[in-house]
């Protein structure tokens, strides 16, 4: 477990900013409880300082997880956000997409969001913007990237893809072995 190096910090923040924009600041400067980013076995954890200090006494091979896992660095040094970061993304998300009840299960099985399943979308969402996907009763289901801007989606036919799938909560079941 160690703090992030400069280039790692940059990679992580760039990814986060893709979804929550300038709200990244709220993750770094928290009013209630000081939090920090820590790297452990290629994974980035976001954890309160108090927890981090206490978990120092756990040996490296025995420590498996602390706080919230945000994602991991691939072997080529790219950072990939995991579904476990959804809590924070949903809290601070700038652009949101709501899917209709009939689109929930297809999305949770790892499919893209189709125009037909689109319930609501934040106005003025640009193209290729990271968005958090919600169900119609505001339960966060995952996140993805828009294929078109809000204006352009109006013109799409019902089977066209609106949001490219990146992660969904179904991964807790599907990828339990590889995720952690």
């Amino acid at each position: 477990m160690r703090p992030l190096a400069e280039d790692e910090t940059k990679a992580v923040f760039e990814k986060l900013a893709n979804y929550i924009g300038k709200n990244v600041v709220h993750l770094v400067d928290r009013q209630d409880d000081a939090h920090c980013f820590r790297l452990h076995k290629g994974r980035v954890y976001y954890v309160s300082e108090a927890s981090m200090r206490l978990s120092i006494s756990v040996a490296r091979p025995n420590l498996l997880s602390l706080g919230t896992c945000l994602g991991k660095f691939s072997k080529s040094g790219k950072f990939k956000l995991h579904i476990t970061s959804l809590d924070y993304l949903a809290q601070y998300a700038k652009y949101k997409v709501w899917v209709k009840p009939n689109g929930e299960m297809p999305f949770l099985y790892g499919n893209h969001v189709l125009k037909a399943h689109l319930g609501r979308i934040t106005e003025d969402t640009p193209e290729h913007q990271g968005v958090v996907v919600y169900s119609m009763n505001d339960v966060p289901l995952g996140f993805g990237v828009t294929s078109k801007s809000t204006v352009d989606t109006r013109k799409l036919d019902p089977t066209a893809i609106v949001v490219f799938h990146q992660a969904d909560v179904g991964e807790y079941l599907r990828d339990e072995d590889t995720l952690f």
């Binding site: 206490l54 997880s65 949770l108 807790y172 339990e176």
Partner: protein, 601 residues
């Protein structure tokens, strides 16, 4: 008639009878069947209590019963006319005799009002009487089987005992013969078990008359249970000894039935009412578990897989047995505490604790099995617990890795004799050696758990020890051992309003007096997995006790004439080595064999 049969519709009568009756009314109604003369039914029943089965079968094969009728067109003309008749009649719901029916068909007027109310009263009284009779009958049948009440009159026993006991208890040769021919038939065994239980229960009154030893009956019963339910002999005996005879059979019966599916609301994400509503909308039939928890829901039936709903995936609830709530309720972790869960996978209790602590403080979730920590981590993240550190140590290393916890939960690895309904493998694969190894491990773990607690903690200083086993040597014996080894730990009330107290003594062993503060849960009593919960309060080690023992030593020294005491280093060396070995072993570390160790030094 049993209670259940009574609640169902009455027995069907033949079409012949129906057509002959003067004015059949409202046969489409469910209660129509009861229209036939009651006394005849009763008397037939009294003659042979066994006729229950034939009754039920008559009801169930829809051909005779009215429930089976689906479509009017398929009915024979005779019956159809009856239906039409019933349609035209004004709706009355009486199941009394026909003359009353005629009376009731008339509109209610001031003149016949009194008469009608009298008739109604008379009918209620009659029904009440019938109910009472039924109850009595049911009680008698029960008593005849095995669940009898103790106040049975003795003369009746004398009537039926002597005739049967010789038949049911086979001799040694007969038993050997049975075994050779591949075991006796199931219904024979079942009957024999019931008989044995009946006799054993009233042993004082009627046992002597059987002319056989009590142990013979017990032996036969145990071997019958083993063959009937498919346990190995060792485990049958172990479980059988935990209960009174009749209850033991109930316990074994309960192990064959699955426990209800229950879920726990994750209060970090949602509220129980909202969750219940969301699941009901998805076609799940559920209800709160009981008054003792405000987060549990019991699922009766579901049209969708309950472990893959969007609510489940977004962490609104956790699939968790009702019994798993209990240790966490007993521990009742407070916000801003430091808590340890020593054997935590798959994380049901850990996440429950995190919810109670409202994501503050810190929880160390430990599990020695690395493979199982994957699901633990997944559940911790899914349920949004941000104060959890997952680590994988052998639990026995714990006070060394980290100590000073406010509360510790030790849900110890156990034989699983409480969850046989979930994992029937336990029935055959547990041997005496497993129990010995497990209780040894549990004793080591509980000491480590006590040592990990900060006795100076302002809010806590509690340990909860729990197992999903019902055997005494994994529960009371371990607790008693901990109390003896750690005088600074005391049992306190677990704060659970139900459950049976632990056994203060068992088969000649007597435990610490406070052991009755522990709680036992049984499948046949509480309809949850067999479980055991004990709550300790750990206080500072008393310095006084040490001084006392020193004084005692002084006194002893005074008695013995002071000799010229000297250390013999060469002689001591051996003892020191031995003590070191023992200490390492106690920690679970591997030590060299003696001769090698000596060569190394």
């Amino acid at each position: 008639m049993g209670r259940r049969a009574k609640n169902k519709q009455g027995d069907p009568e033949s079409l012949q009878e129906l057509s002959e009756r003067p004015s059949p009314k409202k046969l489409g109604k469910r209660k129509a069947g009861i229209n036939l003369p009651q006394p005849a039914k009763k008397s037939k029943h009294k003659d042979s209590p066994q006729s229950d089965d034939s009754w039920n079968s008559a009801e169930d094969d829809g051909s005779g019963g009215w429930e089976g009728i689906q479509d009017e067109d398929t009915l024979p003309a005779q019956t159809r006319s009856l239906f039409q008749d019933s349609d035209t009649s004004t709706g009355d719901t009486s199941d009394a005799d026909t003359d009353e029916n005629e009376d009731e068909d008339a509109p209610i007027t001031a003149s016949n009002f009194a008469a009608r109310s009298r008739a109604l009263d008379a009918r209620t009284a009659r029904e009440a009487q019938l109910d009472a009779e039924e109850l009595q009958m049911a009680a008698q049948v029960d008593a005849d089987e095995f669940d009898g009440v103790e106040d049975m009159d003795d003369d009746e026993e004398e009537v039926d005992v002597p005739g049967t006991e010789d038949v049911i208890l086979p001799t040694a040769e007969e038993r050997a013969e049975e075994k050779r021919s591949g075991g006796p038939e199931v219904h024979v065994v079942q009957k024999r078990m019931r008989e044995c239980v009946r006799i054993l229960k009233r042993w004082k009154a009627s046992g002597a008359k059987t002319g056989r030893a009590r142990s013979e009956f017990v032996e036969q019963l145990v071997s019958d249970i083993a063959s009937y339910y498919g346990y190995n002999d060792f485990l049958t005996e172990k479980l059988f000894q935990l209960f009174p005879v009749a209850e033991a059979l109930e316990f074994f019966d309960a192990n064959e039935v699955p426990r209800p599916v229950t879920i726990r609301t994750n209060t970090l994400r949602t509220r129980r009412r909202d969750l219940a509503q969301a699941l009901i909308n998805r076609g799940v039939n559920l209800e709160p578990i009981g008054k003792w928890t405000n987060v549990g829901l019991q699922v009766f039936e579901s049209s969708i897989p309950i472990g893959a709903t969007p609510e489940y995936l977004s962490g609104h609830y956790m699939l968790q047995a009702a019994s798993s709530f209990l240790p966490v309720i007993a521990l009742s972790p407070q916000p801003h505490e430091r808590v340890l869960d020593m054997a935590s996978a798959p994380g049901g209790k850990t996440t429950h604790m995190a919810a109670l602590m409202q994501n503050t403080g810190i929880i160390f979730a430990n599990d020695s099995n690395k493979a199982r920590t994957k699901s633990l981590t997944a559940n911790v993240h899914r349920l949004g617990c941000k104060n959890v550190v997952v680590c994988s140590y052998d639990g026995r290393e714990f006070p060394k890795v980290m100590g000073g916890f406010d509360r510790v939960l030790l849900d110890a690895p156990c034989s699983g004799t409480g969850v046989i309904s979930k994992d029937a493998g336990v029935k055959i694969n547990k041997t005496e050696r497993d129990f010995a190894l497990l209780s040894h491990l549990q004793k080591q773990l509980i000491l480590c758990a006590i040592d990990s607690i900060n006795p100076a903690s302002k809010t806590g200083g509690y340990l909860v020890y729990s197992t999903c086993s019902v055997s005494v040597d994994e529960n009371e014996a371990v607790v008693d051992y901990a109390l003896r080894k750690r005088p600074n730990a005391h049992l306190v009330d677990a704060g659970l309003e139900f459950g049976r107290p632990g056994f203060p003594s068992y088969r000649g062993k007597s435990f610490h007096a406070s052991i009755k503060l522990t709680r036992r849960f049984y499948p046949h009593v509480h309809n949850m997995d067999g479980f055991f919960v004990a709550k300790f309060k750990v206080t500072r080690r008393a310095k006084q006790a040490k001084q006392d023992s020193e004084e005692k030593n002084d006194i002893l020294m005074d008695d013995v004439a002071p000799e010229d005491v000297q250390f013999d280093e060469r002689e001591d060396e051996e003892y020191i080595q031995e003590a070191k070995r023992r200490r390492l072993k106690a920690k679970g570390l591997r030590v060299l064999p003696r001769n090698q160790a000596r060569a190394a030094t």
